[in-house]
Subunit: 366 residues, 2 copies
């Protein structure tokens, strides 16, 4: 037998910049244009952003190829939308010298990032997140994907953005439920990585809910620093990055079981409570810590118990198909105290007996 | 405005091994199993391979989750097949600890590699190519993809295999047309990179067509060395790798215009003649070189003129949408002499006036 060794060359370290400000949208096109002089531009957005006037603010009177996702939201985050975006790019005769610009929330960012990563084997993407959840979480870190009929982000890639622009003024037009649900990712960041940030959230909760730009900018900085430092330590989610999954194992299953009636943040709120209950079951925490977490989630009007319509069996079934599962049962990210993830034997996610999870789910109906 | 820099860490150089032999299929599973002890296995193949008995040879009596592509061939290389593969993997409750094993020709390898690259953001793939074209070309180098309704490989990624196993005995069951068409990639390799290989092909053409294992093994070595050395010098097809595209710019367009009635190799044969005619038009060659190329392609029973059913307008339209297009017109890989790609100003693909291409297309009907 003959053997030939094929070397795959190293890829150099690189970087991208996150810019954060208030009312910066109208000045962004020039920046993008000068950063991508040689590239054709292709914008992906959704009909909410168009009616809010944000697309016009971004592109002005320029004639830019644009794909508008309709209807907006998670129901469009599927392979059909992806296919029609790719085909729209083809019909516009775009080649590899194209940059995709994602203007929108998590759904737009995930789909547009995924489309960019697989269009003719990959073109750059610029993220302009417009929701609390996208600004805090999904626009940074390079995760992309769409859902299958079976589970969330079943299709996806790791594809880092070429740049991220966060305009907190865009949150002004966000409806209240979306705005509040998106703040759950900020609570999660504070819980896993920064006790001072948790204090800041508790202290400034009213200003946050009143959408004061200074406070929102400060939060964006906290969030992006935490997210970026974790993502760059572990870009492919081999270990450390799993801490970002705090509350997400049960949360994703709840979101999916609800048929996406629950918003991502609402489901993650329940998932964070589940993680807190698991910590108590495993002797990692007393109940007072969970009370503090529950209190801030309640101020955000987030659910902290399971809707009766969702059965335990449904949720367990989906947890078994979690994409981070190994041997068909996932590991769980847990915290040691507020602001610090729990680590043991260099692991950032841990085995939790299925019995404990079942017991915790029972408690979540109470 | 605040700025945060996100570092994307370097990725270390790595490598994979291509093993080449005759009648090695039955011994492969043990090798794969020991190389991927911790992984669940998922096989992707097609109904031709199943009826030829190759799947059974590979997995024996083991109970392995398998997806059988039906019908076999390019018509199945689309986003629907991809979606059902991903959903089959989900239904089997597979997680990121899965290795996809692609047993088949170029279509199977491209789809399975693409599925592996986007399943839960990426799992490893092992390629076991079973056709002349897959063994010579598509199994090595990390290109994956499926076609859109508009163009070939519109969706795709760069995703290197974790290992490649080439059993030349698998070519015995390949039908004659497929076998011959697949040899065109070998002719291409010789033309762009190795004059001695071209001599070898000319000298051994009868033994090749009689599928003598020793000669086929030698060819596999030639092919994989050439393919690997180019792919590792330029894994993301920024420049040098474009030489592998020799004959493919017109070839892909012809293949697509024919509605895939022409096999890939048959279309590339016409594309190689087109490249030769372009070289003559541009003063890079005299006609005797093209005669030699034409002669070997004719011995393979390959077409060297355009079918009258395909119009020039159709072909030009598709060329404009080529995925390597920059400003909506692609660059062309050309050769300086047999065995050496043409380079100018450090470029491996070149501007060719649209008028020249039109003139060459006219000549291709003669």
């Amino acid at each position: 037998m003959n053997e030939i060794k094929v070397k795959i060359p190293a890829v150099k370290a690189s970087s991208y910049t996150i810019k954060i400000g208030a009312n910066i949208l109208e000045s962004l096109w020039e920046q993008i244009d000068s950063a991508f002089k040689e590239h054709n531009k292709f914008v992906v957005t959704d009909s909410n952003l168009v009616s809010a006037g944000h697309l016009t603010k971004l592109i002005g009177q320029r004639d830019i190829e644009t794909y508008v996702i309709e209807p907006p939201g998670e129901t469009s985050k599927n392979i059909n939308t992806l296919t029609s975006i790719i085909e729209a790019m083809e019909k516009a005769c775009l080649g590899r010298d194209t940059v995709v610009i994602a203007l929108g929330g998590g759904t737009v960012g995930d789909i547009a990032g995924f489309a960019a990563s697989i269009f003719k084997r990959g073109v750059p993407v610029v993220q302009i997140p417009t929701t609390t959840v996208a600004q805090a979480d999904s626009s940074v870190g390079g995760k992309t994907g769409v859902d299958s009929t079976i589970s969330k982000n079943a299709f996806g890639t790791f594809w880092h953005p070429a740049a991220v622009y966060i305009d907190v003024a865009l949150l002004d037009t966000l409806d209240d439920r979306q705005f509040r649900a998106g703040l759950v990712e900020s609570v999660k960041h504070a819980l896993i990585a920064d006790a001072k940030y948790f204090d800041y959230l508790e202290t400034n909760i009213d200003a946050i809910l009143q959408r004061e730009p200074d406070v929102l900018e400060k939060m964006a900085c906290f969030n992006c620093r935490i997210k970026a430092s974790v993502a760059q330590a572990d870009p492919m989610e081999k270990n450390q990055r799993r801490m970002l999954n705090y509350g997400h194992t049960v949360g994703h299953a709840v979101e999916s079981a609800s048929g996406f009636d629950l918003l991502h943040g609402e489901a993650i709120s329940i998932g964070i409570i589940a993680a807190g209950l698991i910590e108590i079951e495993m002797g990692l925490a007393k109940t007072d810590r969970l009370d503090r977490v529950k209190s801030i989630l309640k101020k955000l009007n987030m659910p902290t118990t399971l809707p009766l319509a969702l059965t335990k069996g449904q949720i367990l079934g989906i947890i078994r198909m979690d994409k981070k599962s190994v041997n068909k049962w996932p590991k769980f990210a847990l915290i040691e105290k507020i602001g610090r993830i729990y680590r043991q034997n260099e692991q950032w996610a841990h085995d939790v007996d299925q019995q404990i999870v079942e017991k915790v789910l029972d408690k979540l109906y109470e």
